[in-house]
Symmetry: D2
């Protein structure tokens, strides 16, 4: 049966993927909130969406629906707000009798997960998150092949995605709001790596500034050199020459992992899994939240032979 959805942060960058996923899984969008009122995008999905610019009025509306007919209540709240508000908005969802489907990172700091687990228990509702690389066909295949193979691997993760000055002005540039570069642009990859290669042993951070971070992680089955950046000058020369603004590479034992295709509808795939009871919850979110928190709070080490090659430039 079709479910009712509400979206928090509907005016932002990531909301369209959730709106599409709601529609493409055959569900209904019934309410939305965003402090910004420039949300004409809603008209592409439905003309029957109650819209609010204040979270309090949105909360009132959800409460009203909760106390009304079962057919009208909100079953899922999709959370697309800035990272540092995720846990508060998850609470709002659960208190309103809905499950939450929350963008990554579910929270910035691990202790907030404990609090969310308790709220889940109190309300008997669930919090789901978007770990979309885990549903990517090429990566699922890779994982299976790695599991057969076994053994220890050398991995290099490089992700450079250029952002203009607006990035640092926005909430994404404030560590207390986004978690910083490793969390905001890296958490998916860290989740992926642990999903592929097992739990974390040691962590080193060689470099950390507002625009880039780089370090080393020892996993059960891999040694990982990583480099994450939003600075376009960090792009390899060949990429710049080609006029590209993003460079993403994961190599395992020197071989490139090919997964540039198949990114278009991963949110929808995660929604399908979530609705089928196979989504990702607090338990799945925890390792990458803990790892990025550890990275964020690490002192930097002097560069050594484990450092990512981009650092040696």
């Amino acid at each position: 049966m079709s479910k009712n959805f509400a979206v928090i942060g509907v005016g932002g960058y990531i909301a369209p993927r959730h709106l599409r996923a709601i529609r493409d899984t055959g569900n209904r969008l019934v309410a939305a909130v965003d402090p910004k009122d420039s949300v004409g995008i809603l008209d592409q999905y439905s003309y029957d969406v109650k819209f609010f610019t204040e979270i309090e009025r949105f909360d009132r509306h959800l409460e009203k629906l909760r106390r009304g007919l079962e057919a009208d209540r909100v079953h899922f709240v999709s959370i697309c707000s800035p990272n540092y508000l995720h846990d508060s908005h998850c609470r709002l969802a659960l208190r309103a009798g809905a499950d939450a489907i929350c963008e990554k990172p579910l929270v910035i700091n691990p202790w907030n997960l404990d609090a969310l687990e308790e709220i889940e228990a109190e309300t008997n509702r669930r919090i789901h998150t978007i770990l979309q690389l885990r549903v990517h066909p090429a990566l699922i295949a890779l994982r299976e092949s790695l599991q057969k193979e076994g053994g220890m691997h050398d991995v290099e993760l490089t992700y450079i995605t250029s952002r203009g000055p607006w990035y640092q002005v926005s909430w994404k540039g404030h560590e207390d709001k986004s978690g910083g570069v490793a969390t905001n642009i890296g958490i998916h990859f860290f989740d992926l790596l642990m999903w592929l290669f097992g739990t974390v042993g040691g962590v080193k951070v060689y470099h950390a500034d507002d625009q880039r971070m780089s370090g080393f992680i020892e996993l059960e089955r891999a040694r990982v050199r990583w480099y994450l950046s939003v600075e376009k000058d960090d792009l390899p020369a060949s990429v710049k020459v080609a006029g590209k603004t993003t460079y993403r590479s994961i190599t395992v034992d020197g071989r490139e992992v090919e997964f540039s295709e198949g990114f278009t509808d991963l949110h929808t795939r995660v929604y399908e899994e979530t609705l089928a009871g196979r989504g990702f919850g607090i338990k799945e979110a925890r390792p990458s939240v803990e790892l990025t928190h550890k990275i964020r709070s690490s002192l930097t080490s002097p560069r050594d032979e484990l450092a990512h090659p981009f650092l040696k430039k």
Copy 2:
């Protein structure tokens, strides 16, 4: 020579057309401001755009550029803010030594045009606006043919463009901020009609509410019945059945004016004209601002034989 542009309201709905027009006319975007910080769209155009969330800091930056090298100063400020802020943002542009290119409606109330004319004189800078239907090839052709023909015409303007509940919650739903339906969605058409058929004689308003307005205008060479609405229930049944959400029709003496093609880059066309010294200024903006103000402040009349047929339903 390439000009430097800054954009006010870069996070909003209409900004992408201005960003494209700036790029496609070979110019440079150097600064932008929006109270909302979700402006990743900038990265599609340039990684060298200073971004601000406060108008005061944007003003400081423009002042700094104004007092620096001629090559660095901002030559044009594109204004995409809510309607009621247009005149204040035009002043900001002119004081910073730039020309303004301002979205429609240039202002909500005619007396603000007088003030803007004085600022133009004081600063020796110009304010341009976007009257994009005047550069539409099919409409230019229509105008020429009407001029040859001469005579009096019967015109019917119907524009129904569905908007969900967010519209009334946003600034567009507040008459003091948008001017109301006739101004916000109608001003282009009123400008077009006067450009085609001459100046206004009498005005009648039959119906006015938050969602729709309808009336009659006597022009030099036409009698115009008009109906403007953002209410999807106003769509003709045939349009609804076809799954469309917008209905736009202008008939002249019963014949449909065909202009649904050729809408894609009208902003760029207006920019080209503006940069070539053939843009539209306060003088061109005035008639439609005066007419919509008159409509807004009119009492409604009982329906008579001059009323638009949709009102008789």
Copy 3:
């Protein structure tokens, strides 16, 4: 034992009375929130108040305290936010395991009281409100004397409290946010009148605009002509001449009720009563919320002999 308090809307006009009441009843202020950050007033009460500008972060903090030591949790949340947010903030308080002490009017619309009653039942927490005239010694005395006397009375309520143009610009000037003049400045008096003279029979409204409202109410034991205004031109000439900006008068059978003294610490008195389990809850708040809602939604009647004399000027 000393209780922990948190305050919502600590930067606003009415907050100081709550801060004083918290202190003067021997309790502790531990957290506060306001979207405005100009809250140096906190330093007059405590240097150990966690402060937030976002309701979500405040909610996170209260949740954290709720799940910590009993001695640290927030026992009461004092709500000083704009009227239309009261019920949402009451919910926040109760969900955080605290009781709410909410400024008047508890809500704008009666149906929100039903929702709050259900939340009380679900959380086993209470919502209290500030009906401070009910603890005024002179008015308590009046009530007792009226109860002895019995009979029907003629009452005239006149309250003119001048407000400059800022009032209409602020949330207080928006009926959907404040409830309008009768609710925002009148609700205390309507509560008082029903407390003194019994439940409402008929209601008439003679005049209603943004600045003033006037009408007639039939109570069990009184016929009440009332006039409420924020317009300084409505002040009687004698009051203007004396340089005063407020005129407040309640007459019973032509005799002035004297209660201008003893207003200084009524909030503290209400807090004392509330802490002693004798506070005012949803039940006590309901009649005046219902009455002001009825007034707000009434059509105006032609003036007749029941109209307040100020209307006949």
Copy 4:
């Protein structure tokens, strides 16, 4: 003749002193702006103050008055906004044909003074600032006596003014918005010291964090050890015991400078001087802006014999 004043930032902490100064110097408040709408304080001064929550609408109003009758135009704009907006608001004032009277610090960074000087020249209007210690009778007497005396002095400046956690949450806690502790709470004292003892030679900073700064300044006629703090734990034990929350001490050659009296109406005194053409302008503001900028951008030195005694605790 009475002058017309407008106030920017009328809802903030410092605005009441400006409102009083406007009234007590016999002038008229005609317009005000603040993003917060809790500005009932206006009613204590006038019921004829146009109020705005958006700087753009305020600007429009001032422009309208500028183009109207000379008797109606705004002659002075008093600026009580956060520090980092001061220069932008000064520009707004001058462009509107008014002089500015701006709270301290006039600007955060010295180069903004150059820009303001150019705007003064372009508009033929003046920017005034509040250096209120220079009009304090006891300090004027001290200055005269020091000038007679001559010679080199040893000065110790200690200012500890406790602030709760709200301070760091507010704009005052962000160095880019307030300039940090030395600028925000210290600039008056630095101005005073240079006014008393001449221009700056060397500068040392021993300690700098969000809550406190301490250093040494060599002036023409004094060696100054200074310690500035908003941390209540820094208060001397004797002050804490006495239940005080502020400790302010300036000693010259070991003797305490007594100036705790006479603080009540210094803003009014500065207004009087300003209106009489003897106010403080950019020239007077510059030395302390330059000094605090130098302090802000200094690296910290190891403590030596020139360090303030509080640092040795």
